[in-house]
């Protein structure tokens, strides 16, 4: 299977005052299509920075990040927006749902950006809401949802366009244990059904129990890369 993500000696530095803070230090990793992997480590270890670079929201200071065959550092604003629009889904810690839209409209938004026809849109949004068990809440506004429901909407929004890569930044941080497990099961099922590559950034142990591959980071460096799922590893 081809590498869908390839990080080669990736370094990311941020200006802090007169100096620099090194968030990622010479990170080299590859991910194949369909992996269910996560970056773990304490705060400031570089997990989110790594996700942002893979998601083309940021670019490395040094090294190469190739995502879907595209060099992130060389992408124009438009090309990186296009990459996110077509191939990458995001799930955030605080859900980031658009408050004035209904659940249906929030999920539909991803398809609107792809100019999907109305009828197809409707069908696919309802299908995505079924995946996360929220088809009956389609017309509710985000402020009427519980934390777990909000995150499930975020998953539906990220998955509705059937992206190749889904990046989830601390997706369970604001959820109770039951909701966290429910969400993770949903994501695991989608990973199996749709073959989407899931990459997490987390320090939640509940998440780690679901991961097939766990990449531990500390001070911006990879300290371990553990595979639980032998079939993917091979």
């Amino acid at each position: 299977m081809e590498n869908i993500i390839s990080l080669s000696h990736v370094t990311k530095k941020f200006e802090v005052g007169d100096g620099y803070f090194t968030a990622l230090n010479d990170v080299s990793l590859t991910f194949k299509s369909g992996e269910f992997a996560g970056f773990v480590g304490p705060s400031g270890s570089g997990k989110t920075t790594l996700l942002n670079i893979i998601g083309s929201l940021d670019s490395p200071t040094d090294g190469k990040a190739i995502v879907m065959g595209k060099d992130i550092a060389k992408l124009s604003h438009k090309a990186s927006a296009n990459l996110r629009n077509l191939h990458i889904g995001f799930i955030f810690q605080v859900f980031n749902l658009l408050p004035v839209y209904t659940v249906f409209e929030n999920v539909e938004f991803a398809l609107l950006l792809q100019d999907v026809p109305k009828e197809t849109r409707k069908k696919e949004v309802m299908e995505a809401l079924e995946w996360v068990g929220l088809e009956k809440m389609a017309h509710k506004r985000p402020d009427k949802l519980s934390g777990g429901e909000g995150q499930r909407v975020a998953i539906a929004r990220a998955m509705v366009k059937k992206p190749k890569i889904l990046l989830a930044d601390e997706p369970t941080a604001n959820l109770d244990s039951a909701n966290a497990h429910a969400i993770l099961k949903t994501m695991k099922n989608l990973n199996k059904e749709l073959g989407t590559t899931f990459l997490f950034s987390t320090h939640d142990e509940k998440v780690m129990t679901y991961l097939d591959r766990t990449v531990s980071l500390k001070d911006g460096k990879v300290v371990s890369d553990v595979w639980d799922n032998q079939s993917i590893q091979s």
Binding site: L57, A81, R84, F92, N96, L98, P99, Y101
Partner: protein
């Protein structure tokens, strides 16, 4: 673009009361701009039409010594117009005179028009020849000032062609109502034939009024003044009024635009997570900037819609029924009817709408530009930038 319209529309509707407050202010401003301009346009049209009908015609040959701003020039401003060039021209002779109503003396301008003329609306055709006092027509304002009524006889004193004082009684045979005070206040109108007779100035005139536009030309002792020049004063007054009206609606528009600007600035700062989410979902920064700009300018589109709903019946009614300015108009120095009928031309509607839409778009774009410089990661975290 279609997507941006859809999103901007949803965002504005979703923002609820805030949207409607801004739309309300903007609609009010739009309607005030339309109303003021419509009123001024209506007044302008009416004033010009009345000035043409009552005073100027389509142009005038004025005697070279005539100065409309110097009453003393009337003494010498008269002459015989060459009959070969007089086709389509109505002679008007003016002489300085005095009347003595109720024991007072009032300086007036004595004006003579041919009895059968159709050029001006002065009712000289109602001045039938009769024994005794010479029949004259005066305007309502003049009648009020001199305390004269129909049938009243007063003494009139004038100088004849030799400069000799002469006097005779005149009888008020017609009182007319006009918006043009310069043919009313201090003016006594009589048949030209009578004025020629009492002054001995047969076939002479001060002004020859054209019944249709004529090429700019001059004859010996006569200068042609075209209609545009004659109406210049009205244009000037309307322009001054328009300028002061502009100040009012500039203030109103500034208030409305300030509300939009303020909302946009707040939006860009308070909706950073949303901005970050748009970018993460695949919009470019320019598209997000466009979306926020469109949201701001959409306030103006909403206000156009609301303004149309309110404005069409309201202004339709006003332009049919007119607006009464009553006694206020009586002493205005320029033609102003008791009732003004606002005029709302398509160009006025389009230009007013464009002013509101373009200015709303500009003030929306200025704060939205900041999005281009935003770091999407900080925006996603809601970090102030």
């Amino acid at each position: 673009m279609k997507l941006s319209f859809q999103l901007a529309f949803r965002n504005l509707i979703g923002a609820g009361l805030r949207t409607w407050l801004i739309v309300g202010i903007l609609t009010f401003t739009f309607l005030v701009i339309l109303f003021y301009n419509g009123l001024l346009d209506g007044w302008n049209l009416q004033a010009k039409r009345d000035a043409i009908n009552w005073e100027f015609g389509y142009g005038q040959f004025q005697h070279k010594d005539y100065d409309p701003y110097d009453p003393f020039s009337l003494q010498n401003a008269h002459g015989v117009f060459d009959a070969r060039n007089a086709q389509g021209l109505t002679p008007l002779l003016m002489r300085p005179a005095s009347i003595f109503p109720n024991g007072r003396m009032l300086s007036v301008t004595l004006k003579g028009l041919p009895k059968n003329q159709r050029q001006l609306k002065i009712p000289v055709d109602r001045l039938d020849k009769q024994e005794g006092a010479i029949p004259v027509a005066i305007g309502k304002r003049m009648a009020k000032t001199a305390k004269l009524s129909l049938g009243d006889e007063i003494s009139l004193r004038w100088r004849d062609k030799n400069g000799t004082f002469d006097a005779e009684n005149v009888k008020v045979a017609a009182i007319f109502n006009t918006t043009i005070s310069t043919v009313d206040q201090g003016q006594i109108w009589m048949r030209l034939e009578d004025l020629w007779r009492i002054t001995g100035m047969n076939n002479e005139a001060t002004i020859m009024i054209a019944d249709q536009p004529m090429p700019d030309t001059s004859f010996k002792d006569w200068n042609y003044v075209n209609q545009e020049k004659l109406l210049q004063n009205i244009n000037n007054v309307i322009e001054i009024e328009r300028a002061s009206a502009r100040i009012i609606y500039f203030i109103l528009l500034a208030i409305a635009l300030l509300a939009i600007f303020d909302t946009q600035v707040l939006s860009v700062f308070r909706r950073q997570k949303e901005i970050g989410t748009y970018i993460a979902l695949g919009m470019t920064k320019n598209e997000v900037t466009g979306l926020f700009t469109l949201e701001g300018s959409m306030y103006s589109l909403f206000s156009m819609f609301l303004g149309t709903l309110i404005g069409v019946p309201l202004f339709g009614y006003l332009s049919q029924k007119g607006i009464s300015f009553g006694a206020f108009t009586a002493d205005m120095g320029i033609g102003m009817g008791d009732r003004i009928y606002p005029s709302f031309s398509p160009s006025l509607l389009v230009s007013s709408a464009l002013i509101v839409i373009i200015s709303a778009t500009i003030v929306s774009f200025i704060p939205a530009r900041k999005i281009v410089t935003m770091n999407p990661i900080d925006a996603l975290k809601g970090k102030l930038q």
